[in-house]
Amino acid sequence: MAGRGAQAVVRPSAIPVTVIGGFLGAGKTTLVNHVLQGDHGLKIAVLVNDFGAVNIDAALITSSEGGVYSLANGCVCCGLNQGLVEQLEELLERPGSFDHMVIEASGVADPARIMDTVRYARFAGRLQADAVVVLVDLAGFDQAMTAAPGLAETQLDAADLVVLNKADLVPLSQIEAWRKRWQWPGMRVITAVDARVPFDFLFAGQQTGADRAHDHAHAHEQPVSRTWRSSAPVDLEALAAVLKSLPPAVYRAKGFVRDSQGRQLAVQVVGTRVTVVPVGPGASSVGDGSILVLIGFGADADFDGTLARLDACASPSR
């Protein structure tokens, strides 16, 4: 980390951002509604590129002002028009902070460009890229592909997590065909019905209980998780190597580690996106040692092997 002097230290108040992408009809709006109505215990700001397309239960809306709608569960929702930078600045200036921000990209947008903006230096310490989730309409993908092949590739490329939605509407063979044509080595893919993506995948969720979230959003399969703990200091280079090569069945890793110099670092992994940032003073929830939660799918999630490799990063002798 010695070389990172020029980068701003990410304060614990940096708000994680999830970008949701995918073609029109892939289920982005359905997913946003799950978030707005979900019992995830988070205060969430949602930005959508076309507010009119989002049907929020009127009972949820407690007030609306200047295109920003406050919802009963503490969330706010606003329409995203021109000027993403300015819109983000405005939201950050609003009284009462958020735990998380979700941005719905338009169907023809490149979600990577939106996440790029979130990562601009001007937002350092205030926003933090969490994950790009791209929804794929299994039933309509071929059609979308024919219409705009480059765009489909661009959207997929941006994805830390690909959600194959409407899995109940297609035969298994079609899912397999999709994977064969589009999946790259290491792509994290889940199948879902009605865009029900576990909140664990949408939110970095240092405060969310994974168990709680699971009760309210159902993926086709249920994720499983394992926790790694260590009281010995962690070698960061070795850790980074492990995190960059997690088995494809491990979708997310999150937690805190303490390095050999005694610094606390927050770790987030979504797909192939690895973020390691120093934790500023005052992050009280962090204990003395290291803790990482690995979240994966299916029996082939090689947790044991990964846990062993993590153990090798933390050695009392270092």
Partner: protein
């Protein structure tokens, strides 16, 4: 000298003779009693209220020496006079485009950068293209071009970045843009040349992708971070810029432009214009504005240019006595600097300026003392307000020369600033080519809100307050064609009828011609020498295929064709005669 169709025939005169020195003659050299050029039998609009119309003009030494009816110029006609019968056609003073950037659109056509030319190149195809380009261009220090597709790297199980690119080309710097132009992939040598290390801070409008643990740049640069690489790359070469400007000049002459301001130039751009000038191909008078900030490309040796080297390029057709900078943003990303916040904003967001008012005031005064014109991009009303304040401050300080500075775009002006253009001697420049109703404009303008929109593009307001309004096409932001501007000034409507409605207050045909001729000359400090067809002024005449006062403006003015363009009596464009001795023949080239 004309055939039955009114086409010019090649004269016996040597073509290059006239192009050599343009129109210079010592003031005490004896003059011939006869004109070298006479235009007769025309319907000539002079732009001079004292004599708005005439049918004949005589030109000697590049200047108008007589005008009126045929009999009024008879005394000037001699055996050596080139007589052109206009056959009743409409003629008027040449046009002034006071803000454009022809190099930005045209230079890439001649740059010969790497273009992989495959819709979906796989990594091995990218590799092969880089190697082939490198072999074909052994003298090129940098390998620069487009594009790669991140998805195909992922499909191949590869990670784009310096590690991959180093395996392809370790010993020459390489920079490749991705398909969406959001990411630039560079190799280690490129990072080294640009001085980029783990300690390099991110720019505000972009970032360097870094290893999460070491902070080492991975070789992927996002958005504003490109500038770090561009700054290390050699500037666009002079021959490329020369070819680009040549196309632009040829187009402008063919569309009747006799004077133009090229804003944002650097040393290489001045060299390119200078080369055209010495070749006799600078058929438009150019005021080139040096970039005050590196906001479009890095400008090397800016201070040397400003403090004196600009004079090296000076000629009858070229000067570099101006600077240009972006003072505020644009309407689309809502970064125009406004007096009251943007509509629909939840906070007080009112846009931004790129220089502090203090910086601006000192700079303006300093440039004013050197006789350098400041051209400031001001789209919001607060930007022009602040700019006019700075001019007022410069006028109060000692040593200023009272230079006519230029407020560019003037998209939204505050009502109480209208009179200040006249009071402070500032040119109000408008971009009517980009502000007629269209799908793009309707989307972009929504953020203004109804109140502001009602006073947008207020050409009429500036004119009524006694100020000087000019136009700029601002190509490549909007087409380089000044006739679109002339039509939309008069109609404020979509020239092709693609969209209903009108934006802003129209002005009359006569006013619009004044804006695009006489006012342009004023904004170039040439109103005593050019801008209207008066005795003693430069013979900058254009002959059209239609009479602007006799046609329905909407749908017609923009389609005007320019048959002949004269600058200082030199025939530079002849549309109808491919055998003509004009510098350029035929229709305007298609540029977009």
């Amino acid at each position: 000298m004309v055939d039955a169709d009114g086409r010019l025939l090649t004269g016996a005169r040597e073509v290059c003779e006239m192009r050599e020195l343009y129109e210079h003659r010592p003031s005490h050299r004896p003059r011939s009693a006869y004109a070298d050029l006479a235009l007769v039998n025309g319907r000539i609009y002079t732009g001079d209220p004292g004599l708005p119309w005439c049918s004949a003009l005589a030109v000697a030494g590049g200047r108008i020496v007589a005008r009126g009816e045929r009999g009024d110029i008879a005394h000037a006609l001699g055996a050596g006079t080139r007589l052109i019968d206009l056959g009743g056609r409409f003629a008027m003073p040449g046009l002034y485009d006071m803000h454009t950037h022809p190099d930005l659109a045209l230079a890439p056509r001649y740059a010969d950068d790497l273009d992989i030319g495959i819709v979906d190149p796989r990594p091995d195809e990218v590799r092969d293209a880089v190697l082939a380009y490198a072999a074909k261009h052994p003298d090129r220090e940098w390998i620069y071009g487009q594009y790669f597709v991140r998805y195909t790297f992922r499909q191949a199980g590869l990670v784009p970045g310096k590690a991959w690119l180093d395996t392809v080309m370790p010993d020459r710097p390489v920079a490749l843009l991705d398909r969406m132009w959001g990411t630039m992939m560079v190799n280690s040598l490129a990072l080294e040349r640009a001085g980029i290390t783990a300690a390099t801070p991110d720019p505000t409008n972009g970032y360097l992708e870094r290893d999460p643990v070491t902070g080492e740049p991975t070789g992927l640069l996002i958005d504003g971070a490109y500038a770090l690489i561009h700054a290390a790359m050699p500037p666009t070469p002079v021959p490329v810029l020369r070819a680009a400007y040549r196309d632009g000049i040829r187009y402008q002459s063919a569309r009747g432009v006799v004077a133009s301001k090229y804003v944002h130039v650097c040393e290489n751009r001045l060299q390119a214009l200078h080369a055209l000038d010495t070749a006799g191909e600078l058929t438009v008078r150019i005021e080139a504005a040096i970039s005050w900030q590196d906001d479009i490309f890095p400008v090397r040796r800016r201070w040397e240019l400003l403090t004196g080297e600009r004079h090296y390029y000076r000629s009858a057709r070229l000067n570099a006595n101006a600077v240009k900078f972006h003072f505020d943003g644009t309407v689309e990303p809502r970064s125009s600097y406004l007096i009251t916040p943007w509509d629909g904003a939840n906070s007080g967001w009112a846009g931004k300026i790129n220089l502090t008012p203090e910086h601006l005031a000192d700079m303006l005064w300093d440039m004013d003392r050197q006789g350098i014109r400041v051209i400031a991009h001001c789209t919001g009303d607060a930007a022009s307000d602040t700019f006019l304040d700075a001019v007022a401050e410069a006028r109060r300080r000692p040593g200023g020369l009272g230079v006519r500075h230029q407020c560019a775009h003037c998209t939204i002006l505050h009502g109480s600033n209208l009179r200040r253009f006249r009071e402070l001697g500032v040119t109000a420049e408008f971009s009517p080519v980009s502000w007629y109703p269209s799908r793009f404009v309707s989307g972009a303008r929504s953020g203004y809100g109804p109140e502001r929109l009602s006073r947008a593009y207020n050409v009429k307001g500036v004119l009524e307050a006694g100020g000087v309004a000019v136009i700029g096409t601002d190509w490549p932001v909007s087409p380089l064609d000044p006739w679109i501007a002339l039509e939309t000034l008069v109609t404020r409507a979509n020239p092709w009828g693609e969209m209903e409605g009108r934006f802003g207050e129209p002005i009359s045909v006569e006013q619009a011609i004044g804006v695009m001729t006489r006012n342009g000359a004023w904004s170039m400090d040439m109103e005593h020498r050019a801008g209207s067809l008066e005795i003693g002024k430069s013979a900058d005449v254009i002959v059209l295929d239609r009479d602007l006062f006799a046609i329905e403006p909407q749908g017609n003015i923009h389609a005007t064709r320019v048959d002949l363009t004269f600058i200082a009596g030199e025939l530079v464009h002849d549309r109808l005669n491919a055998e003509s001795d004009a510098v350029w023949q035929g229709e305007a080239p298609k540029l977009w």
